[in-house]
Symmetry: C2
Amino acid sequence: MNAPLGRLADSLTLPQPYLLFLGDTTEAGYAKTAFGLADWAADRCVGEWSAPGCTVSTGLPRLSPADARAAGARSLVIGVANQGGVIGDTWVAVLVDAMEAGLDIVSGLHTRLTSVPALVEAARRTGRRLIDVRTPPPTIPIGNGRKRSGKRLLTVGTDCALGKKYTALALHRAFRERGIDADFRATGQTGIMIAGGGVPMDAVVSDFEAGAAEMLSPDAPDDHWDLIEGQGSIFNPAYAAVSLGLLHGSQPDVFVVCHDPTRKVILGMENFALPSIEEVIDLTVRLGSRTNPAIRCGGVSLNTSSFDADGAEALMAAERDRLGLPVADPIRGGPGFAALVDAILA
Amino acid sequence: MNAPLGRLADSLTLPQPYLLFLGDTTEAGYAKTAFGLADWAADRCVGEWSAPGCTVSTGLPRLSPADARAAGARSLVIGVANQGGVIGDTWVAVLVDAMEAGLDIVSGLHTRLTSVPALVEAARRTGRRLIDVRTPPPTIPIGNGRKRSGKRLLTVGTDCALGKKYTALALHRAFRERGIDADFRATGQTGIMIAGGGVPMDAVVSDFEAGAAEMLSPDAPDDHWDLIEGQGSIFNPAYAAVSLGLLHGSQPDVFVVCHDPTRKVILGMENFALPSIEEVIDLTVRLGSRTNPAIRCGGVSLNTSSFDADGAEALMAAERDRLGLPVADPIRGGPGFAALVDAILA
């Protein structure tokens, strides 16, 4: 059954496996989504393809849309963003070709696929779907606050863009490696592509924000964990509404605070100091206890990418002593990260 | 310049004066919007009109759409809601007639005006607008947290639907009576119709919630007050996202807590106790200080409609003693309400 053009399906699931599309990109920085998919969803990516002029590669096999379809691919994912988030002219012919080969098109760009007439015409003609992951599903209920079964973890942050998605993904991988039944629940466009579904929480109408979060992590077996990708920060003057609706609706048992020790002010807002980790813990417990009185902080995920190995370990040790909590950098892993996982499961 | 069909104009303003439309209503309870407009915007209502079978009246003169247009009316406002919020079959002919007489149509019903083909056709033919006040304006910026000039008050609450709009309107009237330059800033559909403009905050996409609140109360002279209608409650598990975005973006200098002493649980959520007034004050100061460190509680607006005069006065006196703050019922007015206004202005 096909979803309406341009919408995630009611089931919140994307057609997988994927063929990754790299556009005509010449700088790896613009292909972050493709690299994220190759890192976290390689088992669901059959290969990569590009438009003329492209010079970057994820290392996956190069497959034409027809070959990818023959290898089982069900959609082509636009894995690059150029400046302005537009759909490049040289891309359109490739995307039409992909639809003719039987692939749906998945995009997280600002420009909607459905705003490009040639793509809409090709989708109608071929019966393929144009799926914008920035568009929320059509049927989101108002939140009801009912306690759901199963366990939930939410990554929160001192600000935007400092590792909440990465932390939830790394915890998901670690949980699975320990044999724990767990799902990564995605709330942003890249996460949704990696998970193959989710809800773009920042695009949901405010009245439905908590309801969307409730929908994202439904009732589950008692020993099942949902590892939920956080958004924004309850201290961010622009985005706190998203963060609070997600916190209330997620009703997490455990949260992990994500922080970048080099960041001193809110991204793009020089007059707003970054909150301390302690402030984030305190306010998250206070607000989160409204829908889960047992909420607790499992530890801290520190982005130490600006430090060398010794510096990072010294910083994390100092933070452990200061906060009395596990502190780890999931990118570095190691015993510190294992201790964080232990504390979450304790 | 006409706004697109079905949207508030960029300027957030509705065409006034109004002709109130009462549909075929036979119970006053369904005509709350019309009565609210007659109470709070009588100077901008030229009269009322109805469909066959209507038995209620606001007391305004009965005028046909043509006569209303001749008297200066610029729009017909649907001032009633029937069960389901639909547009009654008998109404359509009246609404078409009103457009032919030169009136735009304004509605806050769940059913969009633009979903009724006969109305869309008549709007195209006559060049009139179909304005759904539940639809936010098209151009809302992301919040920036910048401190704006002028003074702001926000009504907040222990829950939904217990007097936040009424309190802001009563304060607006009191401020104007004292010669203070003030605007009522509407955030819900009835308030928007009364004010002649505003932003339906619960319909704004979450990422833009704080930005919408910033847009609603722009820079103003230093001695000007914006009296902002609150929405929901930061303690409401379904709607707190709306409330927090509105609080951050409004950056109020003063807030007034609205409370109904007979309500013990959140409306429609029996497992959620109503927060205390003190809890609302404490958390509002904590969250609101993010965008206005000088935020303070001006007092409490108590809905005492279930009490007789003596009982209400005794309750308010006890609450004043307990909280050490002005406590008043704006519907009862009197010296208690004057003291609340004094405290806000102090």
